[in-house]
Symmetry: C2
Subunit: 309 residues, 2 copies
């Protein structure tokens, strides 16, 4: 599992930061990629990465501001052009369907795959299968803005075959039963409890990606014990009042959420164009005083999200 | 007057060519810039030029395919963000208004300037003032696609003051009358006809920018005697059949139009991503065999369009 930042700017693009889009790469887990937001120019950013548009299985939209959605019609068209023919699921606030369908209709774009829209009307689970659960909750951004919490299912422990062989338990279909935690009587009369031979469960990963917001309780709820929290940091600590007025966060707001939610790693993104390269580092320095495991990200940055054994 | 190509690719962006957009820079003539088409990523291209979005006075859309319009909502938003507050006029096929207004409404983008839409329902003049006339005619692209012909008014000749002084015609309000071509009687009794002292009229420039099309009569009508013709060249000469099937042109089609219309300069754009840098040169070479004054353009290329004295 990897996370790659395709656009890390706020509101308008700059020459160094494009508009919001994040790829959660689940290639090992399900041979798929999930996008979070799709600002204008996302498809151009994708072109310079290893991401294949046809691998994009789901797109989660945090909110409908232009810098988060105007790249969607173009991305969808290019996905078709580049041979994508598998269904695509789009999750987002009410209105995303009308925007996409109007854009495709007027441009006479005929995609060769179905799009399933999942418009969000209340907090809760928006997607769940055996592998992942994605839930969302409303933030505080003037316009309806959501945060997404992606929870991976736990990995059951491995059967300790070495230990069984040492005890001369014969290999075979028996191992399957033991792996399921069943109790088995061996041909030689011994009774073996599978649970004694199953290793530790590995916790699934939790990745929380928030839409634009000012400080609000749900950020902590969504981020609780996450391996990764992606939080906007439109402003620096000296602009707390402006941030609040514009329904945005400072680097300090983000760091406080990370600390309170006990996350492992905080990524700061959605950086205002007023912070040029050098200045943006100050946001990271300030945030680290509150939460040391903070990284301010740049376009194309990619990070491994490892399992905690 | 200058023309700058912001995006010269076809259909989908590549790492070297972005989607269609052309800036006609009328800074000396009217302190304004006109855009032709606005594919996704146009605002990002603009960022790397000297173009100020607030100077963009008019946007002409040739047709509604996504690669020609998906950058419009973002460009309009950024124009507002960067202080643009003067009215903007958008010309294009029926549907452009719904696309723009839906995008702005759903994204809750509140611009600080009015947009006037001019949806085209028939061939003819779409804009005219004392300085410029813009007319359009339908091309042949499956979807409604237009070409635009921009005609600059002629520059009246200068009054030849040197010649008048030589003849001892006293300077003063008299010169104004002569400049208007009036006949004047001097205090000394001589009669002077202004028309004899006015230099040659300088022809205004003609710039023709066509939307996507296959060979069709209107291309020549629109391009007749133009100083500059911008013509799509999606395909090379070996792909004449494919070009026609997809309602597009080859470099040879474009060159034939330029020749038949007797233009001064042909710019080839809208180059398919199948022609990488080296291969694209072949399109230019082939076209030049038909029409020598051909140039295949790249993103950011800028050319002066000089008056012919
Ligand atoms: Zn934003
Ligand atoms: Zn096109």
């Amino acid at each position: 599992m990897k996370i790659q930042f395709l656009g890390t700017g706020a509101g308008v693009p700059s020459t160094s930061r494009n508009l919001s889009s994040i790829a959660l790469k689940l290639l090992d887990e399900r041979n798929a990629i999930w996008l979070f937001d799709c600002g204008e120019g996302t498809q151009q950013r994708v072109l310079k990465t290893t991401i294949r548009p046809r691998k994009v299985e789901k797109i989660f939209i945090t909110h409908l501001h232009g810098d988060h959605i105007f790249g969607l019609p173009g991305f969808l068209s290019s996905r078709a052009f580049q041979g994508g023919n598998t269904p695509l699921n789009i999750y987002g606030p009410v209105g995303i369907k009308e925007f996409v369908l109007t854009s495709l209709r007027i441009s006479q774009s005929h995609l060769r795959y179905p799009i399933f829209f999942h418009e969000i009307t209340e907090d809760g689970v928006v997607f769940e299968d055996e592998q992942f659960r994605v839930s969302c909750a409303k933030l505080n951004h003037g316009i309806a803005s959501y945060g997404y919490r992606v929870e991976e299912a736990d990995y059951p422990g491995e059967l300790q075959a070495d230990k069984l062989k040492e005890m001369d338990v014969p290999a075979g279909p028996l191992y399957g039963k033991l792996k399921n935690g069943e109790t088995v009587v061996l041909p030689d009369g011994r009774t073996i409890d599978g649970l004694d031979f199953i290793g530790k469960t590995t916790k699934g990963r939790i990745v929380t990606i928030l839409g634009d917001t000012r400080r609000t309780k749900n950020t902590v709820v969504l981020a609780k014990n996450a391996d990764v929290l992606v939080h906007e940091s439109t402003f620096g600590k000296e602009d707390q009042a402006i941030a609040s007025d514009y329904f945005h966060s400072t680097c300090i707001d983000a760091a406080k959420v990370a600390k309170e939610a006990n996350v492992k790693q905080l990524y700061l993104t959605h950086i205002s164009a007023r912070y040029l390269n050098g200045n943006a580092n100050q946001l990271q320095r300030d945030a680290r005083k509150v939460f040391p495991d903070t990284k301010l990200v740049n376009d194309y940055d990619e990070f491994e999200i490892a399992l905690t054994k």
